[in-house]
Every structure is written in structure tokens, then in C-alpha cells.
């Protein structure tokens, strides 16, 4: 796992090419997407300035890696992509830039991969403030540093007013899976325990709250965080992780349903064991939402044999991103493909996949 990083990703270090361009206007215009000098200035000023690494600096059309170094780090390459369109762009606990890095890093890490490189595609609506773009790029760099990855290639497009909502970001990511790690949804086995790494639903509640519809006194912060460090700790402590997924859109209810359906098993969750912040509980009470379906950006669902659960729990709780980790349920034989909740009342109910968007109830 601790093979040396391939050379091209070595960071930080002074840029190979001295910075030249600078943007002198306050907002992005169509000229910044035209391929000419204005675009070069934008890339130089905003992106190279922030991302700053040896693989990106030559500004070739692609980043290049030493294959031998990748091979030394593991026996499989992991490759993923995700697009980020969050509204608002800045929210308590993060912004679209941090989200775009953490989300893709986490998509790699939950497969057992060590995330290494990201790409960054920006689709910008004309009129977007350059300073906001600078702040978002800086936030991407900070998140990349925290996750130990480098943003090594990118693309910038500017579209007409109204053709996109302010800013969309796509990031793709590459990582390496070391030998012996076999994480897959269909490996969930009756008798396995189900764990989560902390308080659920913070991101979903933070975003809804940040849209300003409810004007809560104390804002809820997004849990947006890279999980690769935590996952390395889990993989170091446990030999046989069966399933691992980050519970983003659709919340843990969706992940558990995916596991249950892939493996053809039942999943039983104890309502009393679910770690929930009081503010999120209250938020859901007021709006008639179910926290099980709220998005997270720094939470994972882990399924592994009971014999390894204590080690996994201890490893998680020793890590800053897993202090409030908990065992929330177990894998059962039946009912096949179904998630069942033991309610705090001792009753049972099915936790189904969400149909469409969760909508607040009227009364």
C-alpha cells in the first residue's frame, strides 16, 4: 500500500513553467472559453496558480504517468468520473470545489483504491466572478492536498448566460487497488455486520438549509471530506471487507438497498443505532424528510464479517473521520433484496429505494 508515488505526481514544488497570464477583468466572458489568449490567461491565473504540479505544468493535452510506478502500487487500476452541479456553490462546511475533489476521491477509495490523480473539467456560465472561481480552485487544491492526490489535467468551457447554472465541475479520478482487496456489493453475506462512520444526513440537510428556505438559526455543516485516509485505516485493520460504498445521493437507504439487491440478501437496520445529529433530526421533523435518504459527502457504509467488526469499529473511531462510527445492523438471509428497519418501537418496516425526489409534506 505504501509504494512510492509515481514520479509525475510529486508535489508540491515550484512550477516548471513560470506563470505568465493574468486575468484583469472581474467576470468570466465568452472570450475566456475561446481558446485564445484570454483563455490562456484564465488557465494560468486561476487553475495553474492553484493546482500547481509537475504533471499539469507543461500544459500538454494529457497528463502522462510512469506505468511501472503504477504497477508497483497495486495490481488493478481504478477509474471513475462524477459531475458536480450543487446549488448553492458555497455552503456551510464546503463548496462545489471541495465537493468535486472529495466525491471523486471517495468513489475511488470505496473500491479499495488508493486515489492518485484527478482531472478537472469546468463549465462556466458567462458572467461568473473570477474571484469566486479563484476561491473554488483554491478550495479544490486544499481538498486535493488533504486527500493526497494531484489534479493533473483539465478543461475549461464558458457557455452563454442561462446555458448552465453558474458553474458545473466534472472530475475523473485514477487510483490503484493493491493485491488481495476484493470489495463488491454482491459479497454481502448473511451474518455480516453493517457499520457507518458517523452522523448521517449532514450534507443533505446543509444544502437544503443553505438554499435559505427555512432560515435556521444555527446552520448545519456539510460532512464533505475525503475518506481515503479512513478507508486505508479500515483496510489495514481488517482482512476481509465485503462491501464498502459512500452514501451520497439517496443516503444510506439507497446504498443498503443496492447491497441487498446485488447480493440477494436482506439487510436489517436498528433505528436506535443510527447516529444522527439533533439538528438534522429536528430539520427532518419540520420538513417531513427521512434522514435515511439525505445525502452525505463524507459517510460510508461498510459490510464485513462479524469477527472483524470490532477491529473495524476501533480503527474507525481512532480516525478523525470516524469518531462516531457505529454498528447499525446486520445482513440476513431474508427477505431477499429488501432492507428492513427495526423501529425504536420494536415494530418493523421496509426501507425502500426512494421514488423521485424527497418532497416536504404539507401538513
Amino acid at each position: 500500500m505504501n509504494a512510492p508515488l509515481p514520479k509525475s505526481a510529486e508535489r508540491p514544488g515550484a512550477p516548471v513553467r513560470p506563470r505568465r497570464g493574468k486575468v484583469h477583468v472581474p467576470t468570466v466572458t465568452l472570450a475566456h472559453g475561446s481558446g485564445g489568449k484570454a483563455m490562456r490567461d484564465l488557465i494560468d491565473d486561476v487553475f495553474l496558480g492553484a493546482f500547481d504540479n509537475a504533471a499539469l505544468a507543461p500544459l500538454e493535452d494529457q497528463a502522462r504517468f510512469d506505468l511501472a510506478a503504477l504497477q508497483a502500487a497495486g495490481d488493478r487500476l481504478a477509474f471513475t468520473t462524477d459531475s458536480y452541479v450543487v446549488d448553492p456553490l458555497v455552503f456551510p462546511g464546503g463548496d462545489i470545489g471541495k465537493l468535486a475533489v472529495c466525491g471523486t476521491v471517495n468513489d475511488l477509495a470505496v473500491g479499495g483504491a488508493r486515489p492518485l490523480y484527478l482531472s478537472c473539467g469546468m463549465i462556466i456560465e458567462e458572467g461568473f466572478p473570477v474571484d469566486d472561481l479563484r476561491r473554488i480552485a483554491a478550495s479544490m487544491r486544499a481538498a486535493a492536498d488533504a486527500a493526497g492526490v494531484a489534479i493533473v489535467t483539465g478543461d475549461t468551457k464558458v457557455v452563454h448566460k442561462g446555458a448552465a447554472d453558474k458553474l458545473f465541475i466534472n472530475t475523473a479520478g485514477v487510483g490503484v487497488i493493491r493485491e488481495g482487496i476484493e470489495i463488491a456489493a454482491q459479497r454481502a453475506t448473511p451474518g455480516d455486520l453493517i457499520l457507518v462512520n458517523g452522523l448521517l444526513g449532514d450534507h443533505g440537510a446543509a444544502i437544503l438549509d443553505a438554499r435559505g428556505d427555512l432560515a435556521l438559526d444555527s446552520p448545519i455543516e456539510s460532512d464533505c471530506a475525503p475518506l481515503n485516509g479512513l478507508i486505508e485505516a479500515i483496510l489495514a485493520a481488517c482482512k476481509d471487507v465485503h462491501c464498502l460504498r459512500d452514501a451520497t445521493r439517496g443516503g444510506i437507504a439507497t446504498v443498503l438497498n443496492e447491497f441487498a439487491q446485488s447480493a440477494g440478501v436482506g439487510m436489517e437496520v436498528d433505528e436506535t443505532a443510527l447516529p444522527l445529529r439533533e439538528a438534522v433530526k429536528g430539520f427532518c421533523e419540520i420538513l417531513g424528510l427521512d434522514p435515511l435518504y439525505l445525502a452525505n459527502e463524507g459517510k460510508l457504509v461498510l459490510v464485513l464479517p462479524e469477527a472483524e467488526a470490532q477491529a473495524a469499529l476501533a480503527a474507525m473511531q481512532a480516525h478523525p473521520d470516524g469518531r462516531q462510527a457505529a454498528v447499525i445492523g446486520r445482513v440476513t438471509e431474508a427477505p431477499e433484496g429488501t432492507v428492513v428497519m427495526n423501529t425504536l418501537f420494536g415494530g418493523q418496516r421496509v426501507v425502500d429505494m426512494l421514488v423521485g425526489e424527497q418532497l416536504p409534506r404539507i401538513c
Binding site: D213, E278, E285, P335, G346, V350, D352, G356, P360, C363
Partner: protein, 392 residues
């Protein structure tokens, strides 16, 4: 969470479940057939499923999920009217969230939004009024929906708009009233309900006296109930106690919220702005006399139905849909011919599959376990003819 956890205490619930089971033993009707209790309000239905209450009650108690989900009972023609209003040029159409998905004969508001209409979700009619202040060159229409619970806030918003002289705000009024609807259920020839859990939040506005005719004339006891699981259990216990003691009256379990005479200011605002319609169309139940309200002449300038052309077409419920029978407790949701096949939460045909408070959607989302158990215990039950209620 303060003021919430107290009403969800599993230890207290255990005591109540035990007491309920003991009471059932002493009630005569329960020895012959299950006692049918209707919870009128969709909020109760939601809690009952969310906490798995139904599966823990003795077999002698059957809960019938009533008509109190305003989103569910909205007829297709009214949704079409909403879409027509939303698609008027220059209109911002505002609605509570769960009305977005209700299917009209051609499309839902959500589809209308995707097709370019400016449909926005709000949490309160005052949010809609604020939008009107911020967009003086646009017409902001608020989709007024719900029973007496939401009626006062709509009425007060209209009064506020009048006080401020806001001219670009109007209301598409679909508010409905609970009493005529309960009466229609009581008058139905196939009525089987033995007692009612009264709607807590409606009663917060209208008080509990309006239910007295149910006990006096129809000899059915009523307990006005809160929405937390312990509220519901205690209310069921109170109903059973009435059966056991041979009493038949209106009781108020939710007295921490519901004053006997209701909320005078709220009722005044409602009476100022609204008047009864001669009849209102309900999805699944048909037309019910005096079951809806419209805006009074004095406030006509805030009435979207007067301000804009509205098609007002009557669209019949699909023939195969048995929502009416489910609403009256004649059949259980899972006994409907199209339940879970042609009618699912993804593609709702009937009213009760539309909102999470609808009985069918609740069974479909939360109740599948019970269905699976029933199917194993009684393989024929699920295919039973619609008319008979299969024992659990």
C-alpha cells in the same frame, strides 16, 4: 430531541401495547370480528407505518386509513387546472412540495416545470407573497391546498396581500373541509368503521365540538389524536376503553395542542376570506356537498380562478382504481386489483398511491413485510375478490 423523544419512548409504548391487548380481551365485538378504527388524517397513517405500529397491534384491531391526505384526494381535473395556470405566460406558480408529483390527465406540475413553466416549491403561502413582492412584473399564484390545518395561513396571506395592496398575487383555492367528508363516509351504505381517530391538526383549528354528531347521531366514538407514536397508541387505548365501558363520546387525547373550541382568530380569518362551495369533487370519493371552500366575492381580485381562464374539466378516475373502497375501509389497499401492478408509487393511478401519506403508498413503501407474511399465511388472500376483508 426535546418535546419529541418523550412521545416516542419504547418503554411506555410497551406498557400501552400490553394494556391495549388486555382491553381487547374484554371487548365483546372483538370476539366476533375485528374492530375497525379509521384514522382520518394522512399524518396518522404516515406515523403508523413509520413506526411499524400496525404490525404490533392485536389482530382484533384493524386500522382503516381514511381520506385525510389532501394531496391524495385532489382530482385529476384540478391538477390539469394547476398546470394550465402554471403555463400562463408571466406566471410564477407556487406550491407545497408533495403536490408536485400528483399526476394530472396529461402531466404533473413537475413535468410542467420540466417543460418550461415556472413552478416553485414553497413552505408557506407567505413565501409566495414574498415572491410577489420581489417580482412585481410577474403574477404569483399560490396553490392553496389542504384541510382546515392549512386554510388559516392561506386566508391570513390573502388578508396580508390586501393590506399591502399587492396586486400580482392570487390564490388557486383547493382547500377542503373535513366534516362533510366524514359524514359522507358515515352515510355510505357499506360503512364498516366502528370508531375514529380524529385529525389532530385540523382540530387545533376547528376544536373538537364539530365531531359531536359522529358520537350522537352515528353512535361512533371519536378520539382526537396527536401524531407521535405514543399519541396514536394512547388514542387507540382511549377508544377501546370507550368500547369496553359502553361509552360513545368525543374525547381529546391531543389536548396539549387542541383547544375544545378551536382557534378563534384562525376561524375568523377563514370565515372572512372563504365561503363554502356547493360541492367539491374528491378523487376516489366523488362529489361531496359543501366539502370545499372558495374565495368570497370581496376578495375576488386574489382568486386565480377569476383572474385567469381555467379549463375546469372533470376527469373521471380510472375505472380499475378502487381508491373509494379503500378510503371507506371496505377493502384493504393490498386487495385493490391494481395495487403494486398497474398502480405503484412510480406510476400512481389512484389517489392513495400518490403521496407518502396515502394509504396505498404507505403500504407499498413500508408495509411489504406484512404483505409477505400474509401471503405466506394465506396464499389466496391477495387475490380475494375486492368486496371481502380478509382476516389478518
Amino acid at each position: 430531541m426535546k418535546y419529541v423523544d418523550e412521545f416516542r419512548d419504547p418503554a411506555k409504548a410497551k406498557v400501552l401495547f400490553r394494556e391495549i391487548a388486555a382491553l381487547v380481551e374484554r371487548i365483546e365485538i372483538c370476539k366476533r370480528r375485528p374492530l375497525q378504527i379509521m384514522e382520518v388524517c394522512g399524518g396518522h397513517t404516515h406515523s403508523i407505518f413509520r413506526y411499524g405500529i400496525e404490525s404490533m397491534l392485536p389482530e382484533e384491531i384493524e386500522l382503516v386509513h381514511g381520506p385525510g391526505c389532501p394531496v391524495c384526494v385532489l382530482p385529476m381535473g384540478r391538477v390539469d387546472d394547476c398546470v394550465a395556470l402554471a403555463e400562463q405566460p408571466g406566471v410564477i406558480f407556487t406550491t407545497f412540495g408533495d403536490a408536485m408529483r400528483v399526476p394530472g390527465s396529461k402531466k404533473s406540475l413537475m413535468q410542467a416545470k420540466a417543460d418550461g413553466a415556472d413552478v416553485r416549491m414553497v413552505y408557506s403561502p407567505l413565501d409566495a407573497l414574498q415572491l410577489a413582492r420581489e417580482n412585481p412584473d410577474r403574477e404569483v399564484i399560490f396553490f392553496g391546498l389542504g384541510f382546515e390545518t392549512t386554510m388559516p395561513s392561506t386566508a391570513l396571506t390573502v388578508l396580508q396581500a390586501e393590506a399591502e395592496g399587492i396586486e400580482n398575487f392570487s390564490l388557486f383555492c383547493n382547500h377542503i373541509t373535513i366534516i362533510p367528508t366524514i359524514k359522507a363516509i358515515l352515510d355510505s351504505p357499506d360503512l364498516r368503521i366502528d370508531g375514529f381517530l380524529g385529525p389532530g391538526h385540523v382540530s387545533m383549528v376547528i376544536g373538537n365540538r364539530p365531531y359531536e354528531f359522529i358520537a350522537e347521531r352515528y353512535k361512533r366514538p371519536v378520539v382526537v389524536a396527536g401524531f407521535e407514536p405514543l399519541d396514536i397508541l394512547q388514542s387507540i387505548w382511549m377508544l377501546l376503553k370507550q368500547f369496553q365501558e359502553g361509552r360513545c363520546e368525543v374525547e381529546n387525547q391531543y389536548d396539549r395542542i387542541v383547544p375544545g373550541d378551536g382557534n378563534r382568530e384562525a376561524l375568523e380569518a377563514v370565515a372572512t376570506v372563504f365561503e363554502l362551495r356547493e360541492f367539491f369533487e374528491w378523487r376516489g370519493l366523488g362529489s361531496i356537498d359543501h366539502s370545499g371552500v372558495r374565495i368570497r366575492e370581496a376578495y375576488a381580485c386574489f382568486d386565480a380562478e377569476r383572474k385567469f381562464p381555467v379549463p375546469q374539466l372533470k376527469i373521471a378516475d380510472p375505472k380499475s382504481c378502487q381508491c373509494g373502497e379503500v378510503l371507506k375501509g371496505v377493502i384493504k389497499p393490498w386487495q385493490c386489483k391494481v395495487f403494486g401492478t398497474a398502480c405503484t408509487p412510480e406510476t400512481p393511478m389512484g389517489a392513495l398511491m400518490v403521496s407518502s401519506e396515502g394509504a396505498c403508498a404507505a403500504y407499498h413503501n413500508y408495509g411489504r413485510l406484512d404483505l409477505a407474511k400474509r401471503a405466506t399465511a394465506q396464499p389466496a388472500a391477495a387475490q380475494d375478490s375486492a368486496g371481502e376483508v380478509a382476516p389478518r
